[in-house]
Subunit: 175 residues, 2 copies
């Protein structure tokens, strides 16, 4: 008897490292780990649901060379932001197709921790995977951690995958 | 190409409910969830490593009808405690053998959160699974939570599985 696929929601985000417009180290690490340690050869047993939550920039602008003077300017910014998110998700979706693992991808906007927990409620995955930078308590106070919040509040099992020490960039707050 | 089995360490404990000398609700829930959602039909792809950490009773006595007057009395108490832990592990090991999933089981003594993180370092599982009662912040202050500590400190990915609301006993601190 083979049941429905196990549906794994994976929170993914962009790298914060300048000049590195790709999936973050934590996101890619978590994704490859899932394939290797959970999915293994059983590619028909799982479905990956990628969720990227875009955070509006603190000042509302993400390109200081542009002038935002009309609502249309903001619309074009939003479009650019969406395009960026799509590029990020393309990486994961392409990899899944290569391997033959079923997947889907979503972009949402808002506070990542809140949106992820909300999407868990809506989509009802079997479990949620979140990467973590593995920050110490001092760094945590300033950057907060999405993973801690999700472990407490998401209404499904949560797998937290810390970035390994040898993958950490020079500034551990980067990812 | 088939790699080594994925080694999953599972923290298990006894029920705290009086007259119910078995695996806790969280432990059994987490175990069945792993079989159903992770192992699935791929029984050769995984190995489960059960770890039960016995907590010395706060007052050092676990049977008020007995007199503890000599070192030998304490020895017999320790033996009883060990026998209890074995019975608990027998449940999981028997289930694994029925299904054909490779497993091993360990009993250690001490503070569960510290011992689990120490064993992760020693045994190097691919990931750790801990059940959680899903207590609110008020309850958490008094009972502490092993799962929160492990998510922060264990040197491997950690999967936290909350007990579902319909499995919670009358007193949510029980398990």
């Amino acid at each position: 008897m083979q049941r429905e696929r196990t549906r794994i929601m994976v929170g993914v985000n962009e790298s914060t490292i300048k000049g590195y417009p790709h999936a973050s180290i934590s996101s890619r690490g978590a994704f490859e780990w899932i394939l290797q340690k959970i999915v293994r050869s059983n590619t028909c047993g799982f479905k990956l649901i990628f969720l990227h939550v875009q955070v509006p920039d603190e000042d509302g602008f993400d390109d200081t060379d542009s002038i935002y003077a009309s609502p249309d300017d903001f619309k074009s910014m939003e479009r650019k932001g969406r395009a960026r998110g799509l590029q990020l998700l393309e990486y994961f979706v392409t990899r899944c197709h290569e391997i033959g693992v079923s997947c889907e991808a979503w972009i949402k906007q808002g506070d990542p921790k809140e949106v992820i927990c909300h999407e868990v409620k809506r989509v009802r995955p079997d479990f949620l995977v979140v990467g973590s930078r593995g920050l110490g308590p001092f760094q945590r106070v300033f950057v907060g951690t999405v993973s801690e919040f999700c472990v407490k509040h998401a209404e499904c099992p949560v797998l937290t995958i810390k970035r390994s020490a040898d993958e950490a960039p020079q500034d551990p707050v980067d990812d």
